[in-house]
Symmetry: C2
């Protein structure tokens, strides 16, 4: 009866630097296996995550990310994540990244799962993974992207009415978000804006939608069942300081087509301009983008 | 700079026997770590699965399960799983289970993920895990369950209109299915029947809904965005041989309340009777249940 623990694990060919640490504070080899097959994060997508941008050794919006992690945990009824533990863990990865001379800018993913299935004393699995940001994502910050709109199949009252649907939780169950990205590629685009059945603007699969009209930035309210954006919040703070007004209010798909600028905000994207929507060129927002991108950066300088 | 691969992995207290094998045919220790943190099955719930019932060394509906795995793979645009490989793998786990003298009845889970994020040559991760079926699930086969109805927030035309929502794919993104189970527990029930917004009956979070009316069994069509049931299909074959009629047609929530019997079918549940729905006792279906449960068993004897 031959049992073997490791011979099925093939050699990694993942590119770029990565730094991995677990919630107990230990650093670990990101190319080794650390997760068991019956981890509920794997078997059921039953866990949550955050992705944080780190620039020159400083994490952006660390506590808003940790607060959102706690909000997602509450929605999934996971044990409350201990903020200071995750803060220490984040800094451990960041310090190690800097010591090892990694690129000045990187992504820090925090992952927290329900732990092992069938274990009556199941404790959550938690780790932080530093990784290099995809070159395509970095390029899109200056070049902009073509996006498509896709029906998300929900209405904007559903989140409140049906909390078991976990709308607005950043769970590991992201297969639909990934499928939306493939649908965009099939249509010659590289990103997606989800709409509710009534044409309300929701969010991107991994980003927050922001539009500019005159000197005002708009984003839809999280209460319609979307994730409250950490990068969007940073952008709004910066824009206000630079003299913009900001409004959180429902947007409709028509608002995207008539706006002075449509943007996708996320940790990795920062503020990325949408230049084409559903195959049609939007108003040129190069100048608006340059201004609000600078306002966003100014928050962290 | 201390790195360690394993010290954060605590000792397992998972109960019951388990047998694990990977798609390359190797047996592995189910209590060891085999999955990397950047497996997309974990990070994005980006993968698929099947759960097969094995009784006395014989898998039930093995090929319908493998066909459904291929159908899910196609919906998620994963490489087509090689049927004979998964068949061999299943038999490897089953033979090992029998050799080791495990319980006569067990569950066999097949898991297939997109593999490693950031790996340009990413190959899928695939494994089969034999596990003991939860005693509560076995008890419910004779005692029945209380269930609640929950809004799934979709309409029945959505699956066809919006394939990127992966409705009817058995993906690893099951956080909502798990949340529905917690909502049931909160309401003093142990299972759920999902409804569309218009009151159409969809499915359970991990089961197919079947109702009896006179000498006819009914289940809703998979085209409304639900999983085609393998156990339900076996049940229908058995029931037809025993003189029942079977119909695949849309059901409404009212049909549940007026039926001669409401049942949840799945590999682990077999055919489990719902005795209470949303807190109200349903018509006593003990006799009907005994008859169709026997018809189901007869298919495999």
């Amino acid at each position: 009866m031959g049992t073997s623990g490791a011979i099925h694990v093939r050699l990694s060919s993942v590119t770029g630097m990565r730094v991995l640490a677990f919630t107990d504070g230990t650093l670990a080899d990101p190319d080794a296996a650390h997760i068991r097959v019956n981890d509920l994060g794997l078997l059921r997508g039953d866990g949550i995550f955050e992705t944080i941008l780190v620039v020159d050794g400083r994490p952006r919006e660390l506590w808003p990310h940790l607060d959102r992690l706690a909000r997602s945990a509450s929605m999934l009824e996971l044990p409350e994540p201990d903020g200071p533990t995750w803060e220490r863990l984040s800094h451990k990865v960041i310090e190690t990244w800097v010591e090892r001379g990694g690129p000045a800018e990187f992504g820090l993913k925090l992952v927290y799962t329900r732990g092992l299935e069938g274990d009556p004393a199941a404790a959550p699995t938690g780790f932080a993974l530093g990784f290099e940001i995809d070159e395509k994502v970095i390029r899109a910050r200056t070049e902009g992207v073509a996006a498509i709109t896709l029906d998300r199949g929900v209405d904007t009252g559903l989140a409140e009415r049906a909390p078991w649907l976990l709308l607005g939780a950043k769970s590991l169950s992201y297969a639909v978000n990934m499928a939306a990205g493939r649908e965009a590629a099939r249509r010659g685009a590289s990103d997606v804006i989800f709409l509710a059945g009534d044409g309300s603007v929701l969010e991107g699969p991994t980003s927050t939608v922001v539009i500019a009209r005159g000197r005002t930035l708009y984003t839809p309210p999280a209460t319609i069942g979307i994730l409250p954006g950490t990068t969007q919040a940073g952008l709004f703070r910066g824009a206000e300081r630079a003299g913009w007004s900001t409004k959180i209010e429902p947007l409709r798909v028509e608002d995207l087509r008539t706006a002075d600028g449509v943007f996708l905000a996320s940790s990795a994207r920062k503020v990325t301009r949408v230049h084409t929507l559903d195959g049609e060129a939007l108003k040129d927002s190069t100048t608006v983008h340059a201004e609000i991108a600078q306002a966003y950066e100014s928050v962290y300088s």
